[in-house]
């Protein structure tokens, strides 16, 4: 470099920089030499754009695996039949560290940048209400609920969970139940036990299995989340459904002694879990049951689909101990962002999501049940028929870990607190952490 004199060097630099500046001024990704040709290239595309734009329906979701794609396509088919001429853009994004993590990140950029998709998948309830609804970016859907008569076909509690200030903000397309127990028939038979109806019976069963050197409860806590899910099913019977729901609307204090009692149950139950639970990840938990390493999994009703796909048939189901008659739900739903390009197409999409035809096209493939109580029960398998009956008569409570009960930040704090508890087993400290998280999230003063 020293051979060049400074003036020459700077001039060269100026040329290079100037070239770069020119290139960056050129329209989107067109290399500088091609710049004169660019306007000509763009012209034919431009008139076509508005026409195509008016017809586009962009749907965000994290449904990218087998049954999920099939289910989503079922919805798309119904839409195409009813509203032909609209181009559906399936913007599904897989992956991420929590359910839909990557999609949520992309969605956030789009929403904050004022370029929302026509609609997006979101857990019904707190997850949506605490984020985009609180930010004033969603339209309330009261008008659509009235138009479509949804207040008569969705359970009242479900609409309450979907609402902020008495107005619903999303349309549920499916329902999963999270407080379920999936047990190995063989192992329960081996000690002559029936599926336990409450946690006292559960500990009797667990003690019998322990005597044979057999762990009872599947726990997978290599990361936060799974144990928190199990813990919810311990909070529900201790608090009862009304007090449990009250935790999220300020009617029940998080300092309630019931929380500490539920933590004590969890602490005891962990002694009967698979001993390597700190190394097992959530995704591997089904194998524990399939391989006979545990007697049961407490997990949502996406489980049987996985078990059947692993050719494991020898399992039974019952509500988690003490959870009979209480339907802890989570729901995938779609809402209407403000400032969408094609509002009419988006509203029609929501109509399809909430329709009987749409829900019956979606749910059999997804392995969930319809949110509507008037769905066609003949299309579903034995578990789902059972669940649909329960859905009609049970009391509904929202799930924390699956985004229905409270906003994302609380969900994360809740899972993290229970993750630490699984190692340290400190009831008082964890209870304090939960109270702090509730205060942070504005669930209580």
């Amino acid at each position: 470099m020293k051979q060049l004199n400074r003036r020459q060097f700077l001039k060269m630099g100026a040329l290079v920089a100037g070239g770069a500046a020119l290139a960056s001024c050129a329209p989107a990704a067109t290399p500088a030499p091609a710049a004169p040709a660019a306007p000509a290239e763009q012209k034919p595309a431009e008139p076509a754009k508005p026409a195509a734009g008016a017809q586009k329906l962009e749907i965000f979701s994290w449904w990218t695996s087998g049954g999920e794609i099939e289910a989503l396509n079922g919805l798309f088919e119904v839409y195409k039949k009813r509203y032909p001429g609209v181009e559906i853009v399936n913007a599904a994004i897989a992956g991420g560290t929590s359910s839909g993590g990557d999609m949520k990140a992309v969605l956030q950029t789009r929403m904050m940048g004022g370029d929302p998709p026509e609609s997006f998948q979101v857990h019904l309830g707190g997850e949506l209400l605490g984020s985009y609804v609180a930010a004033g970016q969603m339209e309330d859907l009261e008008f659509l609920y009235k138009e479509e008569g949804w207040d008569k076909v969705f359970p009242k509690t479900l609409i309450e969970i979907a609402s902020a200030d008495g107005k619903p903000y999303s349309v549920p397309v499916n329902i999963h139940r999270s407080n379920m127990m999936w047990y190995s028939k063989k192992l329960l038979d081996s000690v002559g036990a029936q599926p336990p109806k409450n946690w006292d019976e559960w500990f009797v069963l667990a003690e019998k299995l322990k005597a044979k050197g057999q762990p009872t409860l599947a726990i997978a806590e290599s990361g936060a989340g799974f144990t928190a899910h199990v813990f919810e099913t311990m909070m529900i019977p201790v608090l009862g459904p009304d007090k449990f729901t009250g935790l999220f609307n300020g009617k029940t204090s998080w300092e309630d002694k019931g929380i500490a009692d539920a933590l004590e149950i969890l602490k005891r139950a962990l002694d009967y879990a698979n001993p390597d639970f700190l190394n097992v990840s959530w995704g591997d938990v089904n194998d524990l049951l399939v391989n006979g390493k545990v007697g049961m999994i407490i997990q949502g009703d996406w489980t049987p689909g996985v078990l059947w796909s692993k050719k494991f048939e020898d399992f039974g189901w019952a509500p988690a101990p003490g959870n009979d008659g209480i339907y802890q739900m989570l729901s995938d739903s779609f809402g209407l962002p403000k400032k969408v390009k094609n509002r009419e197409a988006a509203i029609n999409w929501l109509r399809v999501c909430g329709s009987k035809e749409g829900q019956d096209a979606f749910n059999p493939a997804k392995g969930s049940i319809p949110a509507r109580i008037d769905a066609d029960i003949t299309k579903y398998g034995p578990y789902h028929k059972w669940a649909m009956e329960a859905w009609k008569k049970d009391k509904l409570v929202p799930s924390i870990v699956h985004g229905a009960a409270a906003k994302l930040s609380f969900m994360t704090d809740f899972m993290n607190a229970i993750n630490v508890f699984a190692t340290k087993k400190d009831v008082a400290a964890t209870h304090a952490a939960l109270v702090k998280a509730a205060k942070d999230a504005g669930l209580q003063k």
């Binding site: 500046a21 290599s222 700190l278 930040s409 994360t412 993750n419």
Partner: protein, 318 residues
Amino acid sequence: MPVSRSNGTATTPGGGAAAPTSAPKRRKLRFRGDLVLAILVLMPSIVAVAIFIYFFIAYTFYVSVVRWPTLLPDYTFVGLENWKRMFQDMRFQIDLRNLVLYAAGFMTQCIVIGFLLASLLDAKIKSEALFRTIFIFPFAVSGIVTGVVWRWLMFPSSGLNQLFEMVGLGFLKSKWYTDPTWGILAVTIAAAWQFSGYIMALYLAGLRGISHELKEAAAIDGANTWNLYRYIIIPLLTPVTFTAVVLTGMGSIRVFDIPAVLGTGAAFSTDALAFHMFQLTFQSNKMSSGAVIASLMIILAAFLIGPYLASLHLEETQ
């Protein structure tokens, strides 16, 4: 050690790009044209750096002192409230402990292994280029891939544990990264595997820069190999070690990918500051809390890089 300075400029790879060293005494009015050109040339990068680095650093600090716990921006000033809360947060305290352990494990392994490999390569062995390539190869692997591979290797019921069992070394079995207390040290093994080769390259460059006369002179004075390393080579390599400490230290502060793949572990035993920040900001929308951790990471990095820049400056002025 005074000897270290003589070799300084030759053995600080990575730092050479900073500050031109032209003599300032000739600068007079007649260079006005040059000055305008210089400013023009530098302007784009100055503006870009000013906005995309320094403005956003300042903005991050600002966000850390306001109350912004949701998606919606909220610029209510709360002073150091967020900072105070963060230091009381248990996960954050665990993260700081993890940082200390990680830095200790990672830096020690990288520097010791890097130096040993470099010394061995410098001993005029056969097919040195082949070994050099092999040792530096992991550096070409991304952190995510390293994380995935080592997760399999260190998974307690398979991988290395199974291998130890098979060859009758069952007592070596370990919980690796799933250990609730020392798991973070297992993570450093994966990280050091990836980065040691690079440190080796630094040391190798340093070793090549040491003149033979010095070694011969030491030999004539009766120094054995140990003394040669202890009194001649290691002191001469001080600038390289300094660079290695700064690089591995920075790596420890900002580590994200490997913990992200291995998971945060039992009770956050393998959590890292950067990953905690990511979760707070992008998964909980707690913007201010995330900004506190980001700001703290900048401050920690500044403590590390400050002395390094100062020493570079010192070398240049001398």
